[in-house]
Symmetry: C2
Subunit: 312 residues, 2 copies
């Protein structure tokens, strides 16, 4: 077990709401100037306040956004500039798309428990609404904007921390969820209105769902076998809010209806923000508490799957 614990957390969603039937999505209004970095900063300020510490108490800043703010420098550096300018705090981007937050917590838990860093700030921020394709109804109606920051430190309580973690990547799905343009393969400088869709988010929802449904049961089985735990040991599953098919996947994985967080209706898929946001919301609402055993899990573009079994 890698002994870590939560020190504080903060969340941010834009006030502006877009509705698709009964589905609510928070999205930065087009007339509004709130950037991805602004949202990250807002969530961090709340997290520091919640933890009753200042930025000077933080030993490392990790940004987990799926889509970068600029191609250079790292998103973490641009966030650092707003909250930690003048300090030496290291800033790093860790990216596995939608599950980046889980990857970052998984990875940084080794550095925290080893004593390299005491307090690590992990921040997810996404302005997904920028890159949506209005012609692709399924993804256009799914995504929301927002940010979430959580601070973790080494725990003196030997029962608290990460019991088990796993990541797998199945690149059969590498092109099932994409923004093809903007990076090195199809540079922004080649943008034209005719090629616009190549620069927007493109999700083949059925492909993703089929691959996930085929791979995840074995992934979950491996997690339980290797950790020596079973579903009955778990108090709550906090899944990535991938799509409205969340209930179907949870059922296939044997997660009872009472044992997972589903906030798709009110927030949709917030990319890398979804998992920490659902985590913080569950803490705020008392759905999970000290001593509980929770699973953070999800699939991401790649296709990548992550899971952490965490004792709070």
């Amino acid at each position: 077990m890698r002994n870590i614990e939560i020190v504080g957390y903060g969340t941010y969603v834009p006030e502006n709401i877009v509705k698709f039937e009964n589905q609510i999505r928070h999205r930065v209004a087009k007339t509004d100037k709130i950037s991805q970095i602004d949202m990250a900063v807002n969530a961090i300020e709340q997290a520091l306040k919640n933890a009753k510490i200042t930025i000077k108490d933080i030993d490392c800043i990790v940004s987990t956004s799926a889509v970068c703010a600029q191609l250079i420098p790292s998103t973490a550096s641009l966030i650092h500039e707003r909250v930690a300018k003048g300090t030496n705090i290291p800033a790093i981007d860790i990216n596995t798309t939608c599950t980046s937050f889980i990857s970052a917590l998984d990875i940084m838990s080794y550095l925290i428990s080893n004593g390299r860093y005491n307090k690590v700030l992990i921040v997810a921020s996404e302005k997904a609404s920028i890159g949506l394709n209005e012609k692709q109804k399924e993804s256009y109606e799914l995504f929301g904007d927002g940010a979430c920051a959580m601070i973790f430190q080494k725990s003196d309580d030997k029962n608290k921390g990460i019991i088990y973690s796993i990541q797998q990547t199945w690149s059969e799905g590498a092109h099932s969820t994409e923004i093809r343009g903007g990076g090195n393969l199809l540079p922004a400088m080649e943008y034209s209105e005719e090629k616009r869709e190549d620069y927007l988010f493109d999700m083949k929802g059925k492909e993703v769902l089929l691959l996930a449904a085929r791979k995840l049961p074995k992934f979950f089985k491996e997690m339980f076998e290797n950790s020596g735990l079973s579903m009955s040991d778990i108090d709550m599953v906090i899944p990535h809010q991938a799509s409205r098919a969340l209930g179907l996947i949870m059922k296939k994985l044997g997660v009872p209806k009472t044992k997972y967080i589903d906030i798709i209706k009110d927030y949709g898929n917030m990319v890398s923000v979804s998992v920490p946001f659902a985590f913080c919301k569950a803490l705020d609402e008392g759905k999970i508490k000290n001593g509980d055993t929770v699973i953070l899990t999800g699939t991401a573009a790649g296709l990548t799957a992550n899971a952490i079994i965490l004792k709070l």
Copy 2:
């Protein structure tokens, strides 16, 4: 000490050469179709051959490119698709721009020495030539394309591995080295010929040099004090090939002329590829050998500085 050792490595540079007076730069020819991913794959294939293993022996693939191949999914996933499709090997991007390779090795050494992953493949690939601005002579003549892959594993030799590592970020320099466009803050969809320079690499060389010269001596002092070592314990410094001012910086840091690798003249700055590429070249040429103590170091956009003291 975190006990790790090199299992194998491979490098790739495009055959095409561009010359600026006596300075040689390897750059993918405009008529050539070699992508960032192609270069990464080539380096990985050589690394696996050099290590006498197959991809199935690898437990984690980390990509450290400063500039992503696509905005979604991770560059590591797109590399995975070409070398590891059908496997479950996790794929992760770790990014601190030019020093990403050092950050990734630093971070992953905790997971290797802890037993999470046995063999980790770290691959850097950059096609910097795409984003250069012909009007900015200093940066236009500086960069080269290429890739480098290195495989690390846990070492049974208690003397081998990472003695000390440090990262600091000084975001006073967040805008000294940038590609402003392409990400969330200035999306590709807003591209126009008038705004072209915002989508190209922009380096304020003097600003970077002044900030680095001001901060690095203290950074090096901290490294030596905390590690209990001094320059006389070091056999070779492998610095990021940041610019032709490399010699000046090394002098300021008290690194003798015989004790650092300088391949700027033949390769220029290859972004995140520079450090591992110079590392592999030094190994190939016998400039460093088993038992030597080396420092991997550099500054990156952000401004971020990294250093690892590694006993081979």
